[in-house]
Amino acid sequence: MIREILGMAFIYIGIAFDFFGVLGLVRLPDVYNRLQAATKCVTFGTAGLLFGIFILQGFNAFGFKALIGIVFIFLAAPVAAHAIARAAHRSRIPLTSETVVDAYEKDHEIKE
């Protein structure tokens, strides 16, 4: 009984944070800000959802697959975000006009 309430609570929280992250993907002004909001919130939301499913199912095949999914998301999502951010900056996609400082641009010009 209490296991079901706890699992459903985790699933609700996960879905809510998924929604916030996708809202950030639509509202924020440039690629880097969108990447931040989307990566953080969607990773945390999906991990919470899978943890809720693990609590509901217990230690059977479904629950273990959910746990392996959590580990994989935590390892893979930041690496993909880092690769996309670096590629976007190297292919000269501009930052938004509200940007206050860009240290990478300066050092990158000197290096080439």
Partner: protein
């Protein structure tokens, strides 16, 4: 202008929440799956109208993580665990796809 757009978005989200949680009569897991599909609609907006190619790559990457949660919820509803296998394979392929897209965007060859 900004505040009008904010109110319009709030109205759309409010209409969706009223329809999904109070008018639509179905199992609770289907309501959650509807919220997840609504998130996917926002992501598809970014894929269609993204001003730069990096925006589209970010949207596809986020779509891959959202699909894991969606498939896990479907598996929970149908009480079978092979949806989780599909979700894990989808996560692996989506991660490799984002890395390959970002390398192409950066202008390097794939075996670099």
């Amino acid at each position: 202008m900004k505040i009008i757009r904010w109110l319009l978005g709030l109205m759309i989200i409010g209409l969706f929440i009223i329809f999904n949680f109070f008018i639509y009569q179905g199992p609770i897991l289907f309501k959650l799956i509807n919220v997840s599909l609504f998130c996917t609609l926002f992501v598809l907006f970014r894929v269609l109208f993204g001003p730069s190619p990096a925006d589209r790559i970010v949207a596809v990457d986020i779509l891959g993580i959202l699909i894991i949660g969606l498939l896990a919820l479907l598996g929970l509803h149908y009480k079978t665990d092979f949806y989780m296998d599909i979700a894990l394979i989808w996560a692996l392929l989506s991660f490799i796809a984002s890395l390959a897209f970002s390398k192409i965007l950066e202008g390097r060859s794939l075996d670099d």
